[in-house]
């Protein structure tokens, strides 16, 4: 894990709410694994006070890219930074996706959930997981076409893309989990699910995985102050031997086995 102060190399808005930013760090790029995240904030003691947890979107050479959705004041400040300004970066943090090379990877992205899954997709593509008929599949969804992110990059990474939007403006009309359900009912190959998106979507994906008997990993999100297991702010209810307790999203996750999570809480 590193704590670095780095000049922003690039930052661009991908629409009204989402920005993509990039910086150079050989150390972070070298250690980062798909599903891991970084804590970032504008330099020094400027507001926002606390860093924000952002999943790693892409690593190319020594460059690290993140997607940030503006959800409040903190992310608004980050999105209004300019190239050359200093970003405080802590990471890479947490437990990422554990890929089973024997199974066909099915990636399920809802909205911003596409962010960490592109890193996974590009890693799968580089590690040669694209054997005949075993190419990874991306299920991607959002409310509207605007929420479908990084489509071109996923396709370049060799993924077959099945999309759905709630308003029908892109792909099929409906939920991404509808497309996943249809696919799972028709296919026979041994597959494994890797999902990131809103909690409702993750819950539905977990239920499908349970029904089909497929391994399923989900990447969760929670507010956190430190990202390193000290503040205990990012609790998620987890099944444990001694009964339900809380796991730390930052350290025990953010990627969990879907079966570990208490979804009803």
């Amino acid at each position: 894990m590193f704590f670095q102060e780095l000049p922003l190399k690039k930052i661009e808005m991908m629409g009204p709410e989402v920005c993509r930013l990039g910086f150079a760090s050989r150390e972070i790029a070298g250690k980062a694994r798909p599903g891991q995240f970084l804590m970032i904030k504008p330099q020094a003691w400027a507001e926002p006070l606390l860093p924000r947890p952002i999943s790693i979107h892409r690593v190319q050479g020594g460059m690290v890219e993140l997607l940030v959705r503006v959800v409040g004041e903190g992310t608004r400040r980050i999105s209004s930074m300019r190239p050359g300004e200093i970003l405080e970066v802590k990471g890479p943090l947490g437990r990422g996706f554990q890929v089973d090379p024997q199974k066909v990877p099915l990636l399920v992205a809802g909205g911003m959930g596409a962010a960490p899954l592109l890193f996974l997709a590009e890693k799968l593509s580089r590690s040669g997981a694209r054997k005949k008929n075993r190419a990874p599949v991306l299920f991607i969804g959002g409310r509207t076409k605007k929420e479908i992110l990084a489509l071109k990059e996923f396709r370049q990474a060799g993924l077959k893309v099945l999309a759905a939007t709630e308003d029908g403006s892109f792909g099929e009309r409906g939920l991404v989990t509808d497309r996943l359900r249809d696919y799972l009912e028709a296919q026979s190959a041994e597959s494994a699910l890797y999902a990131c998106g809103p909690v409702g979507m993750l819950k539905a994906v977990a239920a499908l995985a349970l029904k089909e008997g497929l391994p399923c990993q989900v990447s969760l999100e929670e507010r956190m102050a430190c990202g390193m297991g000290a503040c205990l702010g990012c609790a998620v209810a987890r099944k444990q031997e001694e009964g339900p307790g809380y796991a730390k999203v930052c350290q025990d996750g953010p990627v969990f086995e879907a079966g570990e999570i208490v979804w009803d809480e």
Binding site: F3, L232, G233
Partner: protein
């Protein structure tokens, strides 16, 4: 003084010698190991652990934190591994660090405080206990003990009776007369005081009209509380003759110096650790630079030098 000589930052509190007056605040530094990837923990004056209860505590339902102007609210709920797991899994690592380790002790009853303290007594690697009578985030215990001088004194006496370890009593700001509670802890046998714990607070999401925390109330920390903390530390220093450790919103060496000048013999750094994991180290270096630039050879010569 020769400007090339390194100034002496060491302080002694309750018989514990610390190489500098910068400690970690309980609940912000985990069990130490979490920060080891970021710097050499031997650099800090002393390490204060997460609060330890008799049995493991699961903590409060999320969301547990939210940011507020220049601060943060937390309602963690004293999640911790419990004293047995602490002794088995956490203390061996801490004991090898070579710095004083102070264990923060909490309880829901007088009996529980005493039981945790007696379990920690005599264990290798523990330099002192910090008695937490000031946490706002549990239904019973915590703050209830810290807001009443008689109850506070009873907690300290009960713990005093079961251990020979130096005792630091951690006070809440949520009292009308800090001097009164500080004297009560001193008279009951506390060897030092630390203050302030977080200030109870609240934030509301105007869209959902729910509290932004899972447990309605939380404890406010961060730069926002520094002026409040500084005043209370100043008042506590006037009220007692035992050493006072100051904390509340310290981010920089300048912040730490304010506390030292009003009479704190050491400081604890809390929320700043979350933001900059090497915050303690940066503050220590900043103190050293301050002394060197002014030709002051000992940090002791700064402590309690507030002018009328």
């Amino acid at each position: 003084m020769n400007r090339l000589t390194k100034p002496d930052l060491s302080v002694t509190i309750a018989g514990i010698r610390m190489k500098n007056p910068v400690l970690t605040a309980s609940g912000t530094f985990g069990y130490g190991r979490e920060y080891a990837p970021y710097f050499d923990l031997q650099e800090i004056g002393a390490l204060v652990t997460k609060g330890i209860s008799l049995k493991p505590m699961a903590g409060n339902p999320p969301p547990r934190i939210c940011e507020t102007p220049s601060g943060m609210l937390n309602a963690i709920g004293l999640q911790n591994v419990g004293v047995e797991a602490f002794l088995r899994d956490k203390l061996p690592y801490l004991a090898e660090l070579g710095i004083p380790v102070i264990v923060n002790v909490l309880g829901h009853s007088l009996k529980e405080y005493a039981e945790v303290a007696s379990r920690l007594d005599g264990q290798r690697g523990i330099a002192a206990l910090e008695i937490n009578i000031s946490c706002p985030n549990v239904a019973q215990g915590g703050l209830a003990f810290g807001a009443d001088p008689r109850l506070a004194a009873r907690v300290v006496s009960r713990v005093r009776a079961v251990t020979r370890l130096p005792l630091i009593t951690k006070l809440t700001p949520q009292v009308s007369d800090i001097g009164c509670i500080a004297r009560a802890a001193e008279e009951a046998g506390s060897d030092a005081l630390s203050l302030i714990n977080t200030i109870p607070g609240m934030a509301v999401d105007i869209h959902t009209r729910r509290s932004r925390l899972g447990r309605i109330n939380g404890g406010l920390s961060g730069p926002a509380i520094k002026p409040v903390a500084l005043r209370l530390v100043y008042q506590a220093v006037q009220a007692v003759s035992i050493p006072v450790i100051g904390l509340g919103g310290i981010r920089t060496a300048e912040d730490a110096l304010e506390f030292l000048i009003v009479g704190a013999r050491a400081v604890q750094v809390g929320t700043a650790n979350f933001i900059r994991p090497r915050a303690c180290l940066e503050i220590i270096q900043g103190l050293r630079n301050f002394l060197m630039s002014r030709g002051i050879n000992r940090i002791e010569n700064v402590i309690g030098t507030i002018r009328p």
